[in-house]
């Protein structure tokens, strides 16, 4: 199981170099019209959109579910008449879990297929790789995974959570539960280190103590010592930003050490329904996760989404937060286009502010200034059946704040 997630910047530097090189080549060959951007081809009775996900390689397991969700939304929209009386024609490309490939395929979708918008990407590394391509061509990307924040591209709409819609509310929940001390465990790369910086700043301002902080390399499976340290620290709770397979080894060790969700709960931000299935509920039952959506989230919109997804892809397939964020991104784009009355990228961006949608996770609103969306934060408990049941929510959608500007304690972070 590779659960390496969104926001996560593996080999970030290398990717940037590769992407920069690619962008440089691109601008050389197509000099004349780069500044103007490429207009989408909407002359026929269909409008093309790009789907850019890894269908092969280590990320495929996660990204295929995102692709499936986007396809579901497109089918539903087409069945209801399409967008501005045009049917959506999806053009799929495989990013192959390789960040330079993402940049190359993005360029192809924009320039050759002349799509009106692109949906996809998962890891932060792939997003960072395609970002200059979208900015150079003035084309739109809808990014559906929660990430580390501190980014705001004019040509990307972020439909997953930023830090103040997932990590900060998770901490608020712990504080309300009377948690006064935390232990931080994470994978050793940008996302967990950024997240933990935010957590430490929060803790300091809120009278919580951080008793320890440990990082394991991605893929590490030896958690004996870390578990010992966690146990002897006597912390009230553990905040887990581990990614990928390390979670399997960590939770096995955690249970072996006699630690339970009752004695020392773990709050994870990278374990959704898919991952629960693969780690095994044997180890996860009762532990907490912070997200914006669970398969069990109540409401007619979610019942419809879950039923439609299972009908199309199989009754045993769970729905998860990134899948939901991908599904609604297509509907949000449709609403923006219809409000603008055109597929023109600049006009669509101008029209985006204030767009609302009754999403499976509840009402979401696009914030035009940050191009993120206001979402309800949730904390859930993992059950024996592998599903996650909500134990707390923020009550109302939280306005996105990718740079945490409205939090005085976060002053020194960005």
């Amino acid at each position: 199981m590779t659960l390496i997630r969104g926001r996560r910047i593996l080999a970030g530097a290398m990717t940037l170099v590769a992407a920069a090189a690619l962008a440089a080549c691109g601008s050389k060959t197509t000099d004349g019209n780069t500044s103007a951007g490429v207009a989408a081809d909407v002359s026929g009775d269909t409008v093309k959109v790009g789907l850019l996900n890894s269908l092969s390689g280590t990320m495929a397991i996660s990204e295929v579910t995102v692709r499936d969700s986007i396809m579901l939304a497109i089918e539903e929209i087409n069945a209801a008449g399409g967008v501005l009386d045009k049917k959506i024609e999806p053009v799929g490309e495989d990013g192959a879990s390789d960040w330079p490939t993402f940049a190359e395929k993005a360029e192809k979708l924009i320039r050759e297929d002349r799509v009106a918008a692109v949906f996809g990407c998962w890891t932060s590394a792939s997003r960072k790789a395609v970002k200059p391509v979208f900015e150079k061509n003035k084309a739109l990307l809808f990014y559906p995974v929660q990430y580390e924040g501190l980014e705001q591209s004019p040509y990307i709409f972020y439909t997953g959570a930023t830090t103040n819609q997932q990590i900060v509310p998770g901490l608020d929940y712990l504080k309300a539960q009377g948690t006064t001390s935390l232990y931080l465990v994470g994978s050793d790369y940008v996302f967990p280190r950024t997240a933990n910086k935010i957590i430490k700043a929060y803790a300091e301002a809120n009278g919580m103590k951080v008793l320890g902080e440990d990082y394991a390399p991605l893929g590490s499976t030896e958690f004996g010592t870390i578990t010992n340290k966690v146990k002897s620290s006597g912390a009230d709770a553990v905040f887990n930003t581990l990614n990928g397979d390390s979670n399997v080894a960590f939770f096995k060790e955690y249970k072996s050490a006699g630690l339970t969700a009752d004695s020392m709960p773990v709050v994870s931000v990278s374990i959704a329904e898919e991952e629960v299935k693969s780690i095994g509920t044997q180890y996860l039952e009762g532990q907490l996760t912070a997200w914006n959506y669970y398969q069990t989230t109540p409401g007619a919109a979610n019942e419809k989404f879950v039923a439609a997804y299972k009908a199309k892809y199989g009754a045993d397939k769970p729905t998860s937060d990134p899948m939901e964020a991908a599904y609604i991104s297509v509907y949000l784009w449709k609403a923006m286009v219809e409000k603008a009355g055109t597929f023109d990228v600049e006009k669509v961006r101008e029209a985006s502010d204030g767009i609302t949608f009754e999403a499976p996770e509840g009402l979401v609103t696009v914030d035009g200034a940050t191009q993120h969306i206001a979402k309800t934060a949730r904390v859930g408990k993992i059950g024996a059946d592998g599903l996650i049941t909500e134990v707390w929510n923020s009550g109302e959608p939280i306005t996105p704040d990718p740079y945490l500007k409205s939090y005085p304690w976060a002053g020194g972070l960005s």
Partner: protein
């Protein structure tokens, strides 16, 4: 104090894992001098064997026990195949062996990906092994780690006995000490080599079964282990089992202590520095085998 004892146990159990993955290599690399980069993939084969068995036999306890002998045979057979098809032709060219077995390791990884898919898979551990034993003073000892410790101990005892008292063991030792003399004394060295390779690779399979208790099973799990395994054998001294055993536990405790006092990455660096310093002082490793062979 509690923490200290807990950490000591963690160190010993890291040592047990190191010992299990290095034991097979101590035989094929230590005794025969073959640099087998595909050793890690034999570990992977053992782990996947456990996974496949659990699909058939759903009782986690039984499937784990049955997996032990089957993984031994599966990994051992793969080793023999490798020995017969490739390594045998390269005994005089150790550097070529390194490249060839590395290629084999890549092929085996891709094979695993094609058969089982690239996402890693998990096995369920028997309920008995997910718990722990609470000792007085708040010390807890994880059952799965005790099991691995017992398994490593058992493997060492069995291997030592096999080398000391069985006719095959005598022949193996004879071939290691002086191949030519063994050959002229009528020992079929080619067959002995093959058997040594079978046992060494089979032990890798056993290590694979044990590792399913600690982490996920995936196509690249072997590559992460192979370096540690070679380190243990090189530092322990070529051709000596007791060196491998002592060094495995020493490195385990060093790693656990370093990690406790600093962080995981710093501890890894400390271990590497200690190894480099040690090899400067004793390039031949902790123990050496005195032989009359000219090589």
């Amino acid at each position: 104090m509690t923490v200290l004892i807990g950490q000591l146990f963690t160190g010993v159990s890291i040592g047990a894992v190191l010992l299990l993955i290095a034991l097979g290599l101590a035989l094929t690399f230590g005794q025969m001098g073959v640099i087998n980069m595909a050793h890690g993939e034999f570990i992977m084969a053992g782990a996947y064997t456990t996974y496949v068995l659990q699909q058939v036999i759903t009782a986690a306890g039984w499937s784990l026990l049955i997996a032990l002998p089957i993984a031994f045979v599966v990994a051992g057979a793969m080793g023999v195949l490798l020995e017969m098809l490739l390594i045998r032709r390269l005994y005089a060219r150790p550097l070529d062996t390194l490249l060839v077995t590395w290629g084999v390791s890549l092929i085996l990884q891709q094979l695993a990906r094609d058969i089982f898919g690239s996402p890693n898979v998990q096995t369920r551990a028997p309920e008995l092994l997910t718990g722990n034993i609470a000792l007085p003073g708040g010390i807890t000892v994880a059952n799965n780690r005790l099991f691995i410790l017992a398994l490593a101990g058992g493997a060492v005892v069995a291997l030592t006995l096999a080398l000391r008292v069985t006719p095959l063991g005598r022949r193996i030792r004879a071939v290691v000490q002086n191949r030519d003399l063994a050959a002229v004394s009528g020992i079929p060295t080619a067959r002995v080599d093959r058997m040594t390779f079978f046992i060494g690779s089979g032990l890798a399979g056993i290590a694979g079964v044990a590792l399913t208790l600690l982490g996920p099973i995936g196509p690249t799990m072997g590559t992460n282990l192979i370096i540690d395994a070679f380190l243990v054998v090189v530092v322990g001294g070529i051709g000596q089992l007791k060196g491998t055993v002592i060094v495995a536990f020493a490195l385990g405790v060093l790693q656990a202590t370093g990690e406790y006092l600093t962080t995981l990455s710093v501890a890894k660096v400390m271990v590497f520095i200690a190894i480099v310093a040690f090899l400067q002082w004793r390039p031949q490793g902790l123990f050496t085998l005195r032989t009359r062979s000219l090589a």
